[in-house]
Amino acid sequence: MKFFTEEHLELADAIIARYPKPRSAMIPLLHLAQEQAGWITDDAMAEIAELVGTSSAEVLGTCSFYEMFKRSPVGKYVINICTTMSCALLGAGELMEHAERRLGVRAGGTTEDGMFTIEGAECQAACTEAPCLQVNYRHRYRVTSDQFDSMIEELASTNHDVPDHGVLSRIRQHIPEDRFVGAVPPEDVVSSPAWMHDEKVD
């Protein structure tokens, strides 16, 4: 029933140690679980509950609140088509219909070959570029049906460096050493805190 690999279990312990209360590590651990399996299995939630000392139901409650935590397997590419107002006015409905027909699955579904999942999404803060969508949470703007088709072809034929599960975990959470710096009196603020200069781990 154990879910985490040895290596991830070590990492999980390190993550838990960062917080005064183990329960606070729940979301980072969910990310870790999704990184490992591509989605969040029941075993993963049960193990996280054990690790942070709470009930599995509580982990489920938190996990299911966030749409980016997937509780069933998704395709290599997750395509979120915005269906909110600006995009809707500029043809998001038609785009969605086209996408469904092109991929042969309904919104929320995954193609049989496991390549694509399409989802309807709320506003992606790119209303001036409507209709827009995201592929693994990276924007594509003003997408026409033709552009959609060529995008699919391109994604299907090239081997992109994209995590299989198409989620956020490409960038691992990074908490620098000086995170406990505490409050800095205003006169001492000569520049931004050290960790802002740290290189982003990609």
Binding site: D42, T54, S55, A57
Partner: protein, 810 residues
């Protein structure tokens, strides 16, 4: 509930100036002055969350009126509140319209219909008509979230009461809000049902019909229900309940909020075991053993059965009669039986406890604490059984109390429900609790200082059924000696055990917490004859019967074969006793061996009073008529007295109580009028005692030999007990019995987890399934006391202070 600062603030509600406690929520202040603000999510025993917005009212704190949720706004000086303004009214309409957007309105087939806050408040505050024409949410309805509770997600209004209760009060966060927005729903984790001992409370809390109790589903409509307020007697905590019936059948219990005891909560056992009262297996007519075929019981009339019983008592003579049990009786019944035994039969061989408690002089003689004292003490020291299993609502109250300034320290041989909230859980081998406590108090552990300097309530009982009473007495002795300021709550489980002892159903004890050598004048006057020597306790009676020194055993709702810790001794006693007379509701293992069986009334059929472990007297109210020809226990005693040539001289429960009030010194002033008056809602606390308890100093307990394991046995909430076995919804909840041992011990013995092993004790050798469990102390083996598949009482020698067993591979 918490200590209120003394100064009040003045606020204006609907034009009237009222005083409010600083810090309290506006809705609570309004409640106190009789202004009702509609609400769904607010509950006075839980934290405010502001989920439903139904309690919006106009609040002006100097910046002009604004709609604010009154369950989230603390009162402040000069606050002006209008709960009837136009804006408030429109807000209420709006909220109800939203709440009904997804509500299926299946009231005609909903258990809640007729008593539903959503129905009621929609009628009172709703818009009258809905503008919603779209499709509503649909879910499979209902889904079971546990064996006892069903969830209909379509009806749920997401008020967070059930989930908040599960987390905040019960400490079993097994139900949660999942998903978000329109898809939000209450759910359990797949494969992990909401099997909390307190799950039934969520059904009572749910303001709609989303949560329903499986045993009550479709059983009645609220307008058909008749209701009386009564007291739960399943355990000795005495939670207040509303007992509801329909067509002369008990169909539901609801918790009633009393400050001193249960705060409105009930455990699931207390809530649902009314099914046993309705059971077809109830005894309805007297039975006697067939003279020609010893295996047959024959139905008979009361006259012949009583005559046969009386004859057996008479033939035996006073010294050779013993009365075992009575802790499930009402105070009145217990009193009449105590009187029958002493003044008519002439014996002091009476014991309401079944060799599984602590001696009556100690229960009655130690300085007493109340539940409230415990919940307000600096430290509660638990050295006794697992309260979660045996006194569930005490466990709940203590758990909630630890969120305040109260800390819990527990000492015992096994993991318990208190581990989750205890400041410290100290594990020691069974039989060594007193010395462990002594070591703690003598050492430089900061806990010692905390115990010495702060207020302490000690909850003391047997930490294991495989221990004699001595280890518990040693603990009490250490506490009295070292912590003289501590007060005690005895951890005794059975319904009215405290009341039965108060009424004199214990050897050497007379009604009103006095001993046999100091009877009150009025008692001597009423009873005439009082035996001079102290009689035998249950263990003594069974030993006497087993060795032919006692002929007639009377079982007062007692099942020694199941509940006495030593089954072998009980069986031997049954074998050698000439006559066994059983007064009971069901044919239990022991009743099946009886020669005369007299059926008695059950809970919900009797009036009278009961006394909880604090010594608090509460009323019982009959609701349904008993089946067949069954009689109240006191009537049976009175009839027997008559046939034995005596006269109890009492004709009704009221008369009995009047006599108790006269003869029992501690109960003087607790009049029938008080018991029937409004005071009785909280129960009437009887304080004071004239008994000085005898407490032994701690002894070394025997060392275990290299092969042995110390046996530890505790009761479970769901066990093979009589009422549970006769409640169709509950009987499958009891887990099969397994022996749990630390993995290293199992390994040492060459046994793999889950294998059957031979368990050898001084009493017997039998086969049991052994399971590895890391939480068990090394050198200890844990076997639940009374689970299906065989109880621990097979292995226990009741005369030993502790019991050791050996395990062998088959």
């Amino acid at each position: 509930m918490s200590d209120m600062p003394p100064s009040e603030v003045v606020i204006t509600i609907n034009g009237a100036e009222v005083e409010a406690h600083p810090g309290e929520m506006l809705i609570a202040a309004a409640d106190r002055v009789g202004v009702h603000i509609p609400r769904f999510c607010y509950h006075e025993r839980m934290s405010s969350v502001g989920m439903c917005r139904m309690c919006l009212v106009d609040v002006d704190t100097g910046r002009g009126p604004m709609l604010q949720p009154s369950c989230m706004v603390p009162v402040s000086e000069g606050m002006v509140v209008d709960s009837e303004s136009e804006d408030t009214r429109r807000a209420q309409e709006g909220i109800l319209e939203f709440l009904l957007v997804n509500h299926p309105l299946d009231c005609p087939v909903c258990d809640k219909g007729g008593e539903c806050p959503l129905q009621d408040q929609t009628v009172a505050y709703g818009p009258g008509e809905s503008r919603f024409i779209e499709e509503k949410r649909h879910y499979e309805k209902p889904i079971p979230i546990s064996d006892l509770v069903d969830l209909d997600r379509e009806r749920c209004i997401l008020c967070d009461r059930c989930t908040r209760f599960a987390d905040e009060i019960a400490g079993d966060p097994l139900i949660q809000f999942t998903e978000r927005g329109n898809a939000m729903q209450v759910l359990t984790f797949p494969g992990e049902p909401f099997s909390s001992y307190f799950s039934g409370n969520t059904v009572q809390l749910c303001p709609v019909g989303a949560l329903t109790a499986a045993p009550y589903r479709f059983k009645a409509r609220p307008w058909d229900l008749e209701q009386v307020e009564s007291t739960c007697t399943t355990c000795s905590l005495g939670c207040r309940v509303a007992v509801q019936s329909s067509r002369n059948e008990l169909v539901r219990y609801l918790g009633v909020d009393v400050e001193s005891v249960n705060h409105g909560w009930l455990c699931d056992k207390g809530r649902f075991n009314y099914e046993a009262v309705n059971s077809d297996d109830r005894l309805t007519t007297p039975l006697i053993r067939d003279k020609h075929d010893q295996h047959q019981l024959l139905g008979t009339d009361w006259g012949s059965a009583l005559a046969q019983a009386a004859q057996a008592i008479q033939q035996a003579g006073p010294e050779r009669v013993g009365i075992i049990g009575g802790s499930q009786l009402t105070n009145e019944d217990a009193y009449v039986w105590a009187k029958l035994a002493r003044s008519v039969i002439g014996t002091d061989n009476v014991d309401a406890q079944l060799g599984d408690g602590i001696p009556a002089d100690v229960v009655l003689g130690l300085p007493a604490a109340t539940i409230k004292d415990a919940c307000e003490a600096d430290t509660v020291l638990i050295v006794g059984p697992d309260l979660k299993e045996e006194l569930p609502i005490l466990h709940l109250r203590l758990r909630v109390a630890t969120k305040g300034k109260t800390s819990v320290i527990e000492i015992g041989p096994t993991a318990t429900g208190a581990d989750a909230y205890a400041q410290r859980s100290i594990r020691c081998r069974s039989g060594e609790a007193a010395r462990t406590l002594l070591a703690l108090l003598e050492g430089d552990d900061p806990l010692a200082k905390q115990l010495r300097e702060g207020s302490v309530v000690a909850v003391v009982g047997r930490t294991s059924m495989a221990e004699s009473a001595t280890p518990a007495l040693e603990v009490a002795s250490v506490i009295r000696d070292r912590l003289p300021h501590a007060t005690f709550l005895p951890a005794l489980r059975r319904g009215n055990v405290r009341g039965a002892l108060d009424m004199g159903l214990a050897p050497g004890i007379l009604p009103g917490r006095t001993t046999i050598d100091q009877p009150s004048e009025s008692l001597t006057d009423k009873w005439k004859i009082i035996p001079e020597t102290t009689g035998l306790d249950t263990t003594g009676m069974l030993q006497a019967a087993a060795s032919g020194r006692l002929d007639t055993l009377i079982l007062l709702g007692a099942d020694p074969l199941r509940d006495f810790p030593d089954r072998n001794l009980a069986a031997e006693a049954f074998q050698y006793a000439t006559t066994i007379i059983a007064i009971d509701n069901f044919i239990t293992d022991s009743v099946a061996q009886a020669d005369v069986i007299l059926p008695s009334t059950a809970y919900g059929e009797q009036g009278g009073t009961t006394t909880n472990i604090e010594g608090r007297i509460s009323r019982l109210t009959p609701k349904v008529t008993p089946p067949g020809t069954v009689r109240d226990d006191w009537m049976i005693a009175a009839e027997l007295a008559w046939r034995l040539g005596g006269d109890i001289g009492l004709g009704s429960r009221q008369e009995i109580w009047r006599e108790i009030e006269q003869v029992a010194p501690s109960h003087a002033g607790v009049t029938v009028e008080r018991i029937c008056g409004p005071e009785a809602h909280e129960g009437i606390l009887v304080e004071g005692t004239s008994i000085e308890p005898t407490l032994p100093p701690p002894q070394e307990s025997p060392v275990i030999d290299g092969y042995g394991l110390r046996l530890v046995s505790g009761r479970k909430l769901w066990d093979a007990g009589t009422n549970i076995s006769h409640s169709p919804s509950l009987k499958h909840l009891a887990e099969e019995s397994t022996l749990r041992v630390h993995p290293s011990d199992l390994q040492r013995l060459g046994v793999s987890s889950g294998a059957s092993v031979r368990v050898i004790s001084t009493r017997t050798t039998e086969t049991v399934v052994a399971v590895a469990d890391e939480s068990i102390l090394r050198g200890t083996a844990v076997l639940p006391f009374n689970q299906p598949g065989g109880g621990a009482n097979r292995f226990i020698d009741a005369t030993a202070h502790v019991n050791d067993i050996r395990i062998e591979t088959l």
